[in-house]
Symmetry: C2
Subunit: 239 residues, 2 copies
Amino acid sequence: MPATTTPIVSATNTNVASLADRRLLHETVIDQLRDLIVQGELAPETKLNERVLAEKLGTSRTPLREAIKFLASEGLVELLPNRGAAVAPLKPEKMKEVFVVLGALEALAGDLACRNASEADITEIRALHYHMLAHHARGELAQYFRYNQQIHIKFMECAGNETLAQIYRGLNAHVKRARYMANLSRERWDKAVKEHEDMLDALVKRDGVRLQTLLRDHLANKLVMVMEALAIPRVEAKQ
Amino acid sequence: MPATTTPIVSATNTNVASLADRRLLHETVIDQLRDLIVQGELAPETKLNERVLAEKLGTSRTPLREAIKFLASEGLVELLPNRGAAVAPLKPEKMKEVFVVLGALEALAGDLACRNASEADITEIRALHYHMLAHHARGELAQYFRYNQQIHIKFMECAGNETLAQIYRGLNAHVKRARYMANLSRERWDKAVKEHEDMLDALVKRDGVRLQTLLRDHLANKLVMVMEALAIPRVEAKQ
DNA sequence: CGCCCTTATTTTGCATACAAAAAGTGATTG
DNA sequence: CAATCACTTTTTGTATGCAAAATAAGGGCG
């Protein structure tokens, strides 16, 4: 609405998408590209053709390349000198590594959360927990994951360490890629829920040591699930 | 000083630096820029003027901007929408956060190293350790830091988790920035060396639990040193 | 003298242009 | 028929151009 004297759309530039958009293009592109990768629309090891992708995202190659560099630093994209870039492969070996680190980070977060979480925080986590339980009971996997994620993120928030949270988000993006292919058995699912019960209990009692242990185990179990998911599928045998 | 005379050098491109250089320009730029930031040549909160920096690094704005995006993801650079980028500020608060996370990561690495390190690895660490001792004895701070760093890096290698190592390197870059201003008191220095003695001992005995504790404490002490360094200086009060 | 508004200047953000590198393509030859 | 080489097309890497945003510089007015 503002400014607007600009009557005619002038010469060269001008993109249709520029409604009230205040964000920077390359930032939008980072998010779009990350989503494409995390949600598996761009499968692991897919080469990123700059011309095609730029067209698809409605931009030019320059912001796209900037976004690629950014995501390369996050590890979602691999740079191939003189050959562009590709979606980072999703290897079981890498997943193991990520989960080991995530275990340590979540344990740390749990410990910090036990010290720093306010009563309001705990109430909020409890609420998320019950939402999660409800979706578990109804067998709604996607919704379950959503609340599950939110609980873990809330833990991170309670830890009050933005550096920790940022690294967590980065690693979690890797895990999410894998999780989209996971088909949880009822048994494992029930177990994961049980673990969350214990975790909530430990938090309420502010038992940091126990929460750490629980989180590490929880992550280890998640790893098993992801590994199973990775072992089974591969609809198309890339490589 | 500026290009101007550039007599022939063919049509458009062609940089003198392209000897047998096989690396990609923007990768070189990433490393150069990171060094400038880590070593404090570009002080915290310095605005990165693209034209000036590109000239200084002997390239055009495009690869520079890509490098900036990469380093922004590492957290060394802050992106200011429509206002370019600046060297990330070096706040005590941030340092605290980084050290807490580093503590957890190094503890994890120590634990893993106790399981995975080969005898050859331990021999190598011992060698580095004695080099470090020698420089400590002679009061050679810079050299001491070098070997100190190498020991920590070697720990990471022994852990055999590349994901862990990568995150460590990223966080460590932040710490290094601060350390360049640290002026170690002899007392603290001696203490740090003593801690390294203990760490080596724990590794040799493969006592992962003790090593974890030692590393966490070691990091906590390092934080104190860095905080002191940050509290004192600021030679020039920017802004 | 300070403040706000207008107008230059600089700087950023994005698009495009062009050369070098890689990937195809096809014909020739052993 | 596979392999190699010359040639074409595509794709990447970097530089440059141009418009919008931000910043600096005047200039009138209280």
